[in-house]
Symmetry: C2
Subunit: 171 residues, 2 copies
């Protein structure tokens, strides 16, 4: 049953422009099935289809872009349909919303779904190529927790989105 292990999401899409993205998609969908099953949540066909559309690439996608893509596959679909699916996927931590772009992207960290729903995610976003990469960094986590702790502040949600130029897009 090494279903997940057979495929994996690319860790740093900035550095892997020509990777086998179908493997990312399979990994994300299989992981989502497993996560929802474990939690007793329902990854319905609609939700799965929306997640698959989000995973078309490593670039954030707007809700109405997703709506158009979904309509290509199902005919007329109204906005609440896509927003409800996205809300579910975000609640489960399978998708993240990038507040600075008002757009959505698949979660890049399969491991983070073991217990926590809706985990913190920190992004680097390239303004040139449009890729957005979810980063894990202990120092950043520490700095945020330290800052909040010293202020006596209890963290509920983190929006950390760093925009600029990725290494490949400089010069």
């Amino acid at each position: 049953m090494a279903k997940n292990a057979d495929y994996q999401r690319i860790e740093n899409p900035f550095a892997a422009p020509g990777h086998d993205h179908s493997s990312c998609i399979v990994s994300a969908l299989d992981g989502a099935e497993a996560t929802c099953a474990r939690r007793g949540e329902r990854l319905t066909p609609l939700r799965r289809q929306v997640l698959e559309l989000v995973w078309r690439g490593h670039r954030p996608v707007g809700a109405y872009d997703l709506l158009a893509l979904l309509q290509d596959e199902r005919g007329r679909v109204a906005p609440p349909t896509i927003y409800r699916a996205l809300e579910f996927l975000c609640d489960q931590g399978l998708v993240h919303r990038l507040d600075s772009l008002q757009a959505f992207i698949g979660c890049g960290h399969p491991g983070s779904h073991d217990e926590e729903h809706h985990h913190a995610a920190h992004f680097l976003i390239c303004q040139e190529c449009g890729l957005a990469v979810e980063m894990r960094d202990g120092q950043l986590d520490g700095a945020i927790n330290g800052l909040a702790g010293r202020a006596g502040f209890t963290i509920a949600d983190e929006t950390v989105e760093i925009s600029g130029l990725c290494a490949e897009c400089q010069g």
Copy 2:
């Protein structure tokens, strides 16, 4: 001409609920005048008035809330009026937009306008009392720069907004 020195913005509004906020306002407006003068930018009556409305408190304000406030003082005003003023103020770093709230708040760091327009700002936002406080933290800056640097990423913009409960609102 110690005009600015006579007044100052409160550093940590979380801990100063009953402070003399008129001093914050004066400080912000005087500082903005000075900053714009130094840069050869025009803080017109309209822009100044919008900045004053933004500074009604230490809570983020939506563009349409500001529009309503402005209308109370000037009669009918259309959305582009407020958005253009906010764009100017954000460009000058006098106001920050909180992407996670789609709202605007006055810049809490008078010192950061010496050279840089549109400087990075990191916020703690209390979901209970609504206060948003701009934080300065070397470790956080270091962590962000380190993370970006190791990825070969050049930072253009930072959105760092930590939501939760401030010390006063716990329990």
